[in-house]
């Protein structure tokens, strides 16, 4: 897992991971690259990350991948990332095609739902929490339940 306090250098990161995959004699390598789109007048997106829980989340995925003979990779930016730059890359390295295709889907979707990262639109230099695009994490709402 790699965190950068700047936009991601996509070529450099994916090239490094690809080299690792071919040195390991693994046949399938998939990358998912997320890039900031120009929309709704934003000039950038900005990210807060809670690293201790992100690290545990990622370790759990490393174990799940290992059980299927694969390796997962992830890079994310902290702070502002301007439009047309990348904030997020994940990858699966696997001996087998099917495992790679299934794992990248599950890994990216669970990342979206459960990685402790908060997103803000940057408009006129101000950060606005992207509340409508955010997802309550697994276990959310526990403090609002009636206790018994």
């Amino acid at each position: 897992m790699e965190l950068y306090s700047e936009p991601l250098n996509v070529d450099k990161i994916t090239s490094k991971w690809y080299k690792e995959s071919s040195n390991l004699n693994y046949g399938a390598f998939i990358t998912f690259i997320g890039t900031i789109r120009e929309e709704d007048g934003i000039e950038a997106l900005s990210f807060d990350i809670y690293e201790p829980i992100l690290k545990k989340w990622f370790e759990t995925w490393q174990e799940k991948a290992e059980e299927r003979g694969a390796i997962v990779k992830m890079a994310h930016s902290i702070g502002d990332v301007p439009i047309n730059k990348s904030s997020y890359i994940s990858a699966v390295i696997s001996p087998k095609r099917r495992v790679a295709l299934e794992l990248i889907d599950e890994f990216v979707e669970d990342f979206k739902a459960n990685a402790p990262i908060w997103k803000y639109d940057v408009i006129d230099g101000k950060r606005v929490y992207a509340k409508d695009r955010s997802t309550p994490m697994r276990g959310a709402g526990i403090l609002a339940k009636e206790s018994n």
């Binding site: 904030s87 908060w118 997103k119 509340k131 955010s134 709402g141 526990i142 403090l143 609002a144 206790s147």
Partner: protein, 73 residues
């Protein structure tokens, strides 16, 4: 004492609270105008482990994190 920290968009400093359980924290958040909405959509971690049982008992020195809805990527 329990340290409660509010992550991401919840713009509050962390607080030290004299509570024994998540139930007490729940009661506190529900009674706060600033926090009652966050109680509804946030997850909770104790010492960086997500907790999903409201009956979880806290120990002195525990650190509780409030995690609002996420959107990485």
């Amino acid at each position: 004492m329990i340290k409660v920290e509010f992550l991401g968009p919840i713009e509050l400093d962390s607080v030290d609270m004299d509570i024994k359980s998540l139930k007490e924290l729940s009661a506190y958040m529900k009674s706060s105008d600033e926090l009652k909405d966050w109680a509804i959509n946030s997850a909770v971690a104790v010492n960086d482990v997500i907790v999903t049982d409201i009956n979880y008992e806290l120990k002195d020195g525990d650190r509780v994190s409030i995690l609002p809805p996420v959107c990485g990527g």
